[in-house]
Symmetry: C2
Subunit: 260 residues, 2 copies
């Protein structure tokens, strides 16, 4: 544990959770911050512990997960440089709902909760920034839930690969950011299943060799996300009353939102 270097503070200014803050405000906010150096496997905090700080990953990879009653672990996210953890809980003076540990050597900035609360009373912008960041996390979880509820393994893997690649159409080379077994966990799969999905993807021009992935055509990969043609899923179900079958139902009082 050590004080952040000026370089660290420079980096912090670029980080999403602090975006939009005046340099002065940021300096005050980060006054009591410090830096943790974690070795692989080391734990930052455990689920159930009182939340006394929130964190920003400066370098390396950190795994956020829950240990289930049965002893399995459910990976919620795997974070790297610039991403923040646990900002919301620190305001509720309650407990961390998950465990975080390093999966590579990692540097993590620690910001004490009580100090952030104090800052908010002086600088409302800090509150807005924290809420915005939390909102991102929520959005991400919403997407993850949708994935788990409604997508096949193949689709989840395709979406994961797509999220690692630039938004191009043609061919593309990707490097897997961490262990395949961790990727599997992150996607709610067993390692064996991930391996088989990779094998299947080879049929549509996705070649996985160690941690190097060569995609023949990104557009095709993205199409997979919407509709898993490999395992024959989904030829666009009709579903619901997307069109208008028998809905004489009154003229929707149109919930146009409130005027500014």
């Amino acid at each position: 544990m050590m004080a952040p270097t000026p370089a660290d503070l420079g980096i912090a200014a670029e980080i999403p959770v602090f975006s939009g803050l005046e340099p002065q405000a940021l300096a005050i906010l980060l006054g009591p911050a410090s830096i943790f150096n974690l070795r692989p496997g080391q734990t930052l905090f455990r689920q159930g512990e009182p939340a006394q700080a929130f964190f920003v990953v400066m370098d390396g990879w950190v795994k956020l997960y829950r240990v289930t009653p049965a002893g399995d672990e459910a990976v919620l996210n795997v974070l790297t440089r610039g991403e923040s953890l646990a900002e919301a809980v620190t305001f509720t003076s309650s407990r961390y709902p998950a465990t975080a540990s390093a999966v590579t050597p990692a540097r993590v900035m620690v910001i004490p909760a009580d100090h952030v609360v104090a800052c908010i009373r002086q600088m409302p912008d800090v509150a807005i920034a924290m809420i915005a960041s939390t909102s991102q996390h929520l959005h991400r979880m919403v997407q993850q839930i949708e994935q788990l509820m409604a997508q096949s393994a193949t689709q989840r893997v395709a979406e994961f690969l797509a999220s690692l690649a630039p938004r191009t159409r043609g061919p593309c080379t990707i490097t897997l950011p961490y262990d395949k077994s961790l990727i599997a966990g992150r996607l709610g799969l067993k390692p064996e299943s991930l391996s088989r999905v990779f094998a299947k993807l080879r049929m549509v021009g996705v070649d996985v060799r160690a941690s190097n992935v060569v995609v023949r055509d990104m557009a095709q990969l993205c199409k997979l996300v919407a509709c898993d043609r490999i395992s024959g899923h989904c030829p666009v179900k009709p579903k619901m009353m997307c069109s208008q079958p028998p809905a004489p139902r009154a003229i929707q009082p149109e919930v146009k939102s409130v005027p500014a």
Copy 2:
């Protein structure tokens, strides 16, 4: 759409998202609030629309869900009296990540986003309250992800039932709060599967008749959550280095699936 009655304002004071606010602060915050009356099926907001307000359910049930590219819907939550929606997004001036619609006749309070932002600048406590509430939502999603990743259908149903019951041990009667098909969606199941799970639960003293559930022993139901003995799941996996390896595994009650 109408102005909130004094009664509504009184109720609001009791609501989690506003807890801890001074009455005056609350009065200012709710100044421009209004009440929507929704009929079943009517939509409060749709995913992708710009977020301009957040909401508190005053009465009835509101379903929060995502429509997947393939046309399925993934139910994120089903909310009732006192629960709030979309407070975090409204600060990011971005878009709703999900759709909300009424599943029963419902009354919903609408609080314009820009007003809340303005309030925060005057009253930091409002910020704390909003973050705390958002943190609850995050926690809930974390649990839901854990459920989807690591629990069997039976366990999810058991947990759902347990969440509806008082925290007692012995016998207990529960009323299902909404349609079984909606419950199924909320738990990431098809209605047919939910029906079969209920059938299986009858073997452990859980009797479901229409929307009335009679549980012979809550303690037993809760044990199921930790370990699904019905479908033979999980006899406490050794996993990790948690404890002794060759647990003297108790006398398996041997419930092989239904003999034809």
